[in-house]
Symmetry: C2
Subunit: 281 residues, 2 copies
């Protein structure tokens, strides 16, 4: 039976109603996304405070520890207990984090929306990452994923101002969908869920509503995922890292349109779809 | 004569061309925004690495030190020298930073796009901030600002994937416009320019293309600016902080539309403009 740490289930309320006045002086009430601090304690030691929507705090905490390379395997974690009464999560490990002082001392303030602090050394790891050379993605699967996201129930549609991330199987089945005020929280929460479910990335496709910046691409590569899709664009370092690890970046994914940026050989164009795409122009 | 530290002028290239393939297999070249690390050394001590577009690295460095409350006055800074050959900026202070270890030890990973790490204690300061109670903004000035941003030459229009921030005078004259891959870099660079020009915030209006999250609102309040406009939305903590300090948040500013979220009394509605707004519906 798969190992699972002891987890709380402390999902918090997603939205908050506020009164607004529009340009004509008309009052109304709108929903805005929650944003709350979550201070992470590991073995009673304060590590970091994450600003989060609060929808998946246990997975977020696990994914943060995983993506920061502070904990090596899920088996090292005994429990993750969130208590919104004090905006804190208590993580208990079996053996502690080695050299936690030294490993959390180096700060990189990144471009990412949301979880902007990556403790140093991530770029050093990039060259050790190898993505499956034979992984391919069909054009029809890209369209299936974009359509699934378009029709997905979301906090974004209710309240705006959140980023969404999703993990899909290689044939376009939605596995996880996470929204957060910070898109790096969303990607970390997905990394946490993959950890809990012992799910590999090699045959998966990652989708984000946010930009494909260096940190997003590095995190995707750390999860071993060869395909990273976004409705948004990329940056020079995001592009460079993807080329280095051989990850296929698809930007500006909307309707039938996309821009394939890197690892062009991984995408299998399907001529019969091109007519459909042409009709859209 | 106003004090100015010795500054390099090391603006870097803003965009980078990459080859892409679209959904019809057609190759073309597009521009994407630069994203590069800038490691900040203060008196030869490594402080942080910022991921930045690189357009205003000296102002960014100054604003970062100011907004993180690491340096109290511009007079404490002797020089800011950026060297892109090593992706580093060397800051020399006259008297050093007191307790820098202790003051940079607490991490808050925020919701902001870009500069996501705020060293602790910012919220503690919020209650000490007082914005001018009598500051008012005319509806016509809101429209002038939105139109100025709409017609502004920008990297966003060339390459997308950047955030813009701007500082306006109380009657809507553009004073500074900064873009960066991270919007918190953009706001920090504006804080740096205000510091260099000894410019107060009390009679100014701040505009951002990004969301009005807690960190953006806190930084606006730290700069003493009573008005914060965005084409985007807000979050619960951004709204809460703005209410606490009496800052007027205007979200969803596009064309003649906006949503006034907080400090409603600060906005002066102009009936003759309402007709224009109505015509747009």
């Amino acid at each position: 039976m798969r190992y699972r740490p002891l987890l709380s289930e402390a999902s918090a309320s997603f939205t908050h109603d506020v009164e607004v006045v529009d340009e004509r002086g008309r009052r109304s009430t709108i929903a805005i996304p929650a944003e709350r601090p979550l201070t992470v304690y590991v073995d009673k030691r304060e590590l970091v405070t994450l600003m989060t929507l609060g929808g998946s705090p246990e997975a977020l905490t696990l994914g943060y520890l995983r993506n920061q390379r502070l904990v090596g395997t899920i088996e090292d974690i005994a429990s993750v207990q969130v208590d919104w009464a004090v905006d804190a999560v208590a993580v208990t490990t079996h053996n502690g984090i080695a050299d936690v002082e030294q490993r959390t001392s180096k700060k990189v303030v990144t471009t990412g929306c949301g979880q902007g602090s990556v403790f140093g050394g991530l770029m050093d790891e990039v060259d050790q990452i190898s993505l499956p050379p034979d992984a391919r993605l069909c054009q029809s699967t890209v369209y299936k994923i974009v359509e699934t996201i378009r029709t997905q129930q979301s906090i974004y549609k209710q309240a705006g101002s959140v980023h969404g991330c999703a993990l899909f199987s290689g044939d376009g089945e939605l596995l996880y969908f996470i929204e957060d005020v910070g898109r790096h929280n969303a990607v970390d929460a997905i990394a946490g869920k993959m950890w809990l479910d012992d799910m590999r990335g090699a045959d998966k496709v990652f989708y984000t509503t946010g930009r494909l910046t260096s940190e997003m691409v590095i995190k995707g590569a750390q999860m071993g995922i060869p395909f990273l899709l976004s409705r948004s664009g990329t940056t020079q370092m995001g592009h460079m890292v993807a080329e280095r690890v051989g990850m296929s970046l698809l930007a500006r994914c909307t309707g039938k349109h996309f821009l394939l940026l890197t690892a062009h050989h991984r995408l299998e164009f399907e001529p019969h779809l091109l007519d459909a795409a042409l009709k859209q122009v």
